[in-house]
């Protein structure tokens, strides 16, 4: 991808997936966009196209967005076949039009996966991620019950690695990029973050078992080690964490086999 470094306005065609709702027929519709500034963000271009549609009496394109600074994880477009578009380590909202050239056709689709049912146009339902978190993505500590923060030292290396995992924004690009629609990178990030902290040790086994079980039930596939997930992750979370997840999962299962079942499952803490 050659960056478009000029400040000249240019034209592109947006080829956008339009679908009124789940179970309804969908199709690609072309929208020409002229006077595109290279400093405009991709979502700002969608805003401009939508204002044009409104003025013509057409229904604007529904797309998910909020913070527009790459941290809330709401935006979720696949652009030219790649979740979050051509950049590396950025979300859709951080894609700027200088990544494209005059005359380009941008094929824009929602994140597609069985566990992310389509809501409308480019918007999908990612509540399955919340379900996985509710099953065990936490450390059980009641408000007010915490010891002094410096009473438990955490080696800097562990805290830094935990932070690498914890930067996950829950966008689901990893799922959309995976041919199996696996959520392993998402689950691995949370399991690794909490599992690397000393505070996370007491629930380490039950957490990984409960989260993986819920992931499976939600209809996500398995990992077959091609790491498309890491390649598209807007926070560049490493697939090494998937190895950590697998290791935690196997050892938790092993330990669970020697414990009464009630202690080993049910992550509701």
């Amino acid at each position: 991808m050659v960056a478009n470094n000029s400040t000249k306005l240019f034209s592109v065609t947006l080829r956008v997936w339009r679908q009124a709702g789940p179970g309804q027929p969908g199709k690609f519709v072309d929208y020409p966009a002229t006077n595109v500034s290279p400093n405009m963000s991709f979502l700002e271009l969608l805003d401009v196209v939508n204002d044009g549609l409104t003025l013509k009496g057409d229904e604007p394109i529904a797309f998910a967005h909020d913070c527009r600074e790459g941290i809330c994880g709401t935006c979720s477009c696949t652009i030219n076949g790649k979740p979050h578009g051509p950049g590396k380590g950025v979300a859709t909202c951080q894609v700027y039009m200088r990544s494209f050239q005059d005359g380009d056709v941008l094929v824009v689709e929602p994140f597609r996966a069985k566990a992310f049912p389509l809501v409308k146009d480019l918007v999908t339902d990612r509540a399955s991620f919340d379900k996985i978190q509710q099953a065990g993505g936490f450390i059980s500590v009641r408000t007010g019950a915490a010891p002094d923060a410096n009473s438990i030292p955490v080696p800097k290396e562990d805290a830094d690695l935990a932070m690498d995992a914890a930067t996950c924004i829950g966008c689901g690009a990893c799922v959309a990029a995976c041919k199996n629609a696996s959520a392993m990178l998402f689950v691995a990030a949370k399991v690794s973050h909490l599992g690397l902290m000393p505070q996370g040790q007491p629930e380490r086994d039950r957490r990984v078992l409960a989260m993986v079980q819920t992931m499976d039930e939600a209809g996500f596939g398995n990992c077959s080690n091609q790491y498309e997930c890491s390649a598209v992750c807007p926070k560049l979370i490493s697939h090494d964490f998937i190895a950590r997840l697998n290791r935690d999962f196997v050892s938790a299962q092993f330990r669970a086999a020697f414990k009464p079942a009630s202690n080993a499952t049910g992550g509701a803490g």
């Binding site: 979502l43 409104t54 604007p60 809330c72 918007v123 002094d148 955490v154 509701a268």
Partner: protein
Amino acid sequence: MAKLESKTPSGPLAQKWEKHKTEIKLVNPANKRKYEVIVVGAGLAGSSAAATLAELGYKVKSFVFHDSPRRAHSIAAQGGINAAKNYQNDGDSVHRLFYDTLKGGDYRARESNVHRLAEVSVNIIDQCAAQGVPFAREYGGLLANRSFGGAQVSRTFYARGQTGQQLLLGAYSALSRMIGQGGVELHTNSEMLDLVVVDGHAKGIIVRDLITGQITRHNADAVVLATGGYGNVFNLSTYARGSNATAIWRAYKRGACLANPCYTQIHPTCIPVSGDYQSKLTLMSESLRNDGRIWVPKRKEDAGKEPGSIPEADRDYYLERIYPSFGNLAPRDVSSRAAMRMCDEGRGVGPTGLGVYLDFSDAIRRLGEPAVRERYGNLFDIYHEITAENAYKTPMRIFPAVHYTMGGLWVDYNLMSNIPGLFVLGEANFSDHGANRLGASALMQGLADGYFVLPYTIGDYLAGQKPASRPSTDRAEFKQAEESVRAMTQRLLANKGKEPVSHFHKRLGKIMWEHCGMARTRQSLEAALQKIPALREEFWANVNVPGSAETLNQSLEQAGRVADFIELGELLCRDALTREESCGGHFREEYQHPDGECKRDDEKFAHVAAWEYQGEGQTPLRNTEPLNYEFTKMSVRSYK
């Protein structure tokens, strides 16, 4: 006229909160499950409150307009969270944090609230560390700190440049745990469109499901709003696009007083505007000012030159020059106004002349590029994405942008509004920051309110309500509120005008920024009070909202929010006009010291202005709550 009793406990400042906690009424554990509490919003304040109330045994219903509670805009806070831990042994204390916050707010906050905030700040860090928040650490494994504006100690805890994200994910994990256990019923994609008041008490809300369009009634024994600030009244801001004031505005129209709306914070370090298509301004964390030096050319003829070609002797490091003791860490309002003065003098840089340099070359020479990268790498990356410039090689260009609103719904010491049963937390209330908020204090306040204040104070209200006595949703008040929501939706859709909603939002933002932005005058505010009602009329005559009410309709959502912003903008200007003084983020050009600093008028304006709705087309009533400083002397705020 609304009754504004602050309910501040008596006694010495440092003992008020402890004393109050032992005096407020309790709800016995068996009765707690008989009470239902609605919590609207799931940012730091909302998530922490919902999780903690559920842990205590209350039945909680959490409503968020996002598709997940984790998306609330607290997630975007970058720099850090203050706490008076004194882990650095640099002389910090609860009193110092209290004093800095009160002074930072230009003596326009309640002493008692601010002291409580400083007291519970230490518990917040403990709580978050126990949740597994991966705070930055020293090699010995203990917590690291950095400095923020308006303080001379290092008391800010952080997780790279993503502190808000990590704290929110901590609160979200606590909330998720309680959802999993059945203590919280979560309603996502659900926007509150009205407050239901029964016999003078807040007892429910009306909600629109943003996916199906269904409008539903929800009752409860108390309602908690934690819906954030109203900075998007300026259209361009560092807020998320979806951040809106609808929940607090509709509560205002049901009788809740809105306090000090003119206290808006303009953050000095944001990436400058590049064109009219722009939807958002991106913040560059204040933490950058720890190592970055702010300058403009000394001569305006140099403003168009490449920064590297301007020799050291021709640069004006104006914050270091004007405020030698705080330097680049002068508070936000002070730094923003200084930047504006430089640009007014013609010394602003960049293509529009509306920018100043934030330069890291000294820090890179001193610490090396890898150390700078470790501290601020993600911010430099964001800057590069947006501007295509490499800030390791050339200085960043920054300019002030709307970032936070200190004003909000009026609350008493218990965080309850003047409508009994309606509690307001976090940025949505007005309580702790006075006329200006210091950096790293928003996260502190959101979590203080949600984890450590509301869970105590709500009991005092609920103990006076009979268990399971909440009114049924069949009551006339619910029906009437639902009908008014439906009527507004229908009116918007039936309008079929010629302009999309976004155009009105842009026009409102332009009026607000030009007439009621960083500097305000009687003349500019009076002009705004002419222009905004005219814009409102035009909105209702000419807005075009396509689509239907029974589906995901983002234009409809936005239309309702912009309609509210237009009304709120008018109130904001009215508040700014009547506050004839300068304080913190509210700068009236008529009231300044010869050096351009804020000139307060403590005799006339040492009070909270709490506006009370009087009906459509009527001028709202300006109630006041005097600010009595018993323990601190109101002095001239100086950072020189």
